[in-house]
């Protein structure tokens, strides 16, 4: 079976620092993958490389078997890869509904002009992440961190992705908010959405992932089921330093 996404020997250097070193892994369709590691391990750099927000020094990225390294960010999104950011990046001067609208837009100037926004679908997507009409009319500055994370998820879901890259979706959230996002991701997993999730919150990560890849200093140190990776000696050493 061809993997949905495959990274082959990816290397990224920042001057003398090798942030990602010969990383290779894959994620299959319908699978959910956890990407863990201590701070500075290179997890977000991997996401930046997948989205072409950074260019790799060497290595290949394949989506459904086709090399996509030369594609621009928006072209990769059009092929089904979307991401969230560690610090949410909403369009600050737009309402929640308009933020979702941007995520739903076709990359076609004629359609953008000729077709009105699909407000019913905006509501539907908002509802899928728990936003009612009141929240849809709010501005990002009026939202909690949990709501901002849900807004990013809504904007991503609006793009109808094949693969979702979730970067620290639980960071800065209360226990209740973590539970809400977690439930949402479990639901999406049941619906067959493929995602790669980066998180330091290993307890919250456990029920969400089929498989885990652990990184340290830009290199893969373990791969397997959640329990296997967590009990790996190298992973414990990377996290605890002994």
């Amino acid at each position: 079976m061809t993997a949905l996404l495959e990274l082959r020997n990816m290397t990224k250097k920042f001057g003398g620092l090798t942030a990602v070193n010969e990383m290779s892994f894959e994620v299959n369709e319908g699978e959910t993958l956890g990407l863990i590691g201590p701070n500075g391990a290179g997890k977000t750099t991997i996401f930046n490389l997948i989205m072409n927000e950074l260019k790799q020094n060497s290595g290949e990225i394949l989506l459904q078997g086709k090399e996509i390294s030369r594609l621009a960010t928006h072209e990769r999104v059009k092929r089904g890869i979307v991401r969230t950011y560690q610090v949410p990046r909403p369009f600050a001067e737009m309402t929640v509904a308009s933020n979702i609208r941007v995520g739903m837009m076709p990359d076609d100037l004629v359609l953008m002009i000729s077709e009105p926004p699909d407000t019913a679908k905006e509501r539907e997507i908002g509802k899928a992440v728990g936003f009612g009409d009141r929240e849809l009319a709010m501005y990002p500055s009026e939202l909690s961190m949990g709501d901002l994370r849900r807004l990013e998820l809504a904007r991503n879901i609006a793009a109808d992705p094949k693969l979702l890259l979730l970067d620290e979706v639980f960071a800065g959230l209360t226990v209740g908010e973590i539970s809400q996002i977690s439930d949402l991701l479990v639901e999406k997993k049941k619906q067959g959405l493929t995602y790669i999730i980066v998180s330091h919150d290993l307890r919250s990560l456990a029920p969400l992932v089929d498989r885990v890849v652990a990184m340290s200093f830009g290199e893969m140190i373990a791969e397997g089921s959640f329990d296997e990776v967590i009990s790996d000696e190298g992973v414990q050493k990377a996290y605890l330093g002994h």
Binding site: E53, A92, T95, D107, L109, P117, L136
Partner: protein, 321 residues
């Protein structure tokens, strides 16, 4: 915007149009000439607004586009006796082509760098028009005795107003579509727009082409209204700042704001003339601009919509979503 909101907005446009059409019946020719300049300034400011106000790419080079169009139609009519119905479209096309050739590479830069690159193009054209082929461009003195499209204050007023009004409505309708939303999103976070799958280069190019076309139409008509063109008039830094201040004062990114700003600014400068005849007037307008930016960064348009929201004429922005 819902149907009621759209209806109210179109009613506002209609009232504005009717009032402006009736103006020649109630004001003097001198005042009418002031309004002709306000119409041209509104066109220039809207042209700036569609690229800079919307996307946040601040252009200091709009006089470059206006100058390309102005010089194209001036040279065609002056040297070759090309009729205006051909020279003006040629001028608009020239502005769009020159804009694409020179400014689109500049769209690779952002922020201050984009502003400086565009400013450099304006300065470059300022220099070139004076030294390269002065027999054709008229050198430092420029070209005068250009044919006018219509003659007399009233016909010129109606021409400039109708063109400005048409441009205003077209641009307003464009920014009301999803393209307007996408261009605003670029101003807020361009990388986040890319990560939603939109090609921001294509969107910026579209905004830029529209901006260049408007600058071209306005620039060509402007030189034929004046009957002359000279480098010092078109490429003067004050001309650039007047366009910017009109857009910012009125409310950037709104299309309607720059129209309000252009009329406010032109009227302010003209009505101050009897009291402060010299260039000291610009100190007053600088002061007004400073106070407005400080207390109302969304400009006069922001103040007007705030008042209308408070009195219940329009719904607050968030409530429309």
């Amino acid at each position: 915007m819902d149907r009621t909101g759209l209806g109210k907005a179109l009613a506002c446009w209609a009232v504005f149009g009717i009032v402006m059409c009736l103006l020649p019946f109630v004001v003097t020719t001198g005042t009418l000439r002031v309004f002709i300049f306000a119409n041209f300034l509104a066109m220039f400011a809207m042209s700036w607004d569609i690229i800079s106000g919307r996307t946040g790419y601040i252009s200091f080079g709009h006089p470059f586009l206006i100058g390309v169009a102005g010089y194209t139609t001036a040279m065609l009519t002056y040297h070759l006796d090309v009729p205006l119905f051909l020279s003006i479209p040629a001028a608009v096309l020239a502005a769009m082509v020159a804009g694409t050739l020179f400014f689109v590479p500049a769209l690779r830069t952002r922020g201050t760098y984009f502003a400086l690159v565009t400013l450099a193009f304006m300065e470059l054209l300022y220099g070139l028009t004076q030294v390269v082929q002065p027999k054709i461009t008229g050198g430092t003195r420029g070209l005068s005795g250009l044919p006018s499209v219509v003659s007399g204050a009233v016909p010129n007023y109606y021409l400039s107003f109708l063109v400005m009004f048409a441009i205003g409505i077209v641009l307003w309708l464009i920014v009301r579509t999803r393209i307007g939303t996408a261009l605003s999103a670029i101003r807020m976070d361009e990388d986040a727009v890319k990560s939603t799958g939109l090609n921001t280069t294509k969107l910026k190019l579209f905004a830029f082409m529209v901006s260049a076309a408007v600058a071209g139409i306005a620039g060509a008509l402007y030189v034929h209204y004046l009957g002359s063109i000279a480098p010092r008039g078109i490429f003067e830094i004050n001309f650039l700042f007047t366009i910017l201040v009109a857009a910012l004062l009125g409310g950037p990114g709104t299309i309607i704001g720059p129209i309000i700003g252009a009329f406010f600014l032109t009227c302010l400068l003209e009505f101050l003339r009897p009291y402060i005849p010299g260039t000291e007037r610009y100190l007053i307008y600088g002061l007004v601009a400073l106070v407005l930016y400080y207390y109302a960064p969304k400009g006069l348009y922001g103040i007007i919509t705030w008042v209308l929201e408070r009195v219940g004429v329009i719904k607050p922005e968030g409530a429309k979503a």
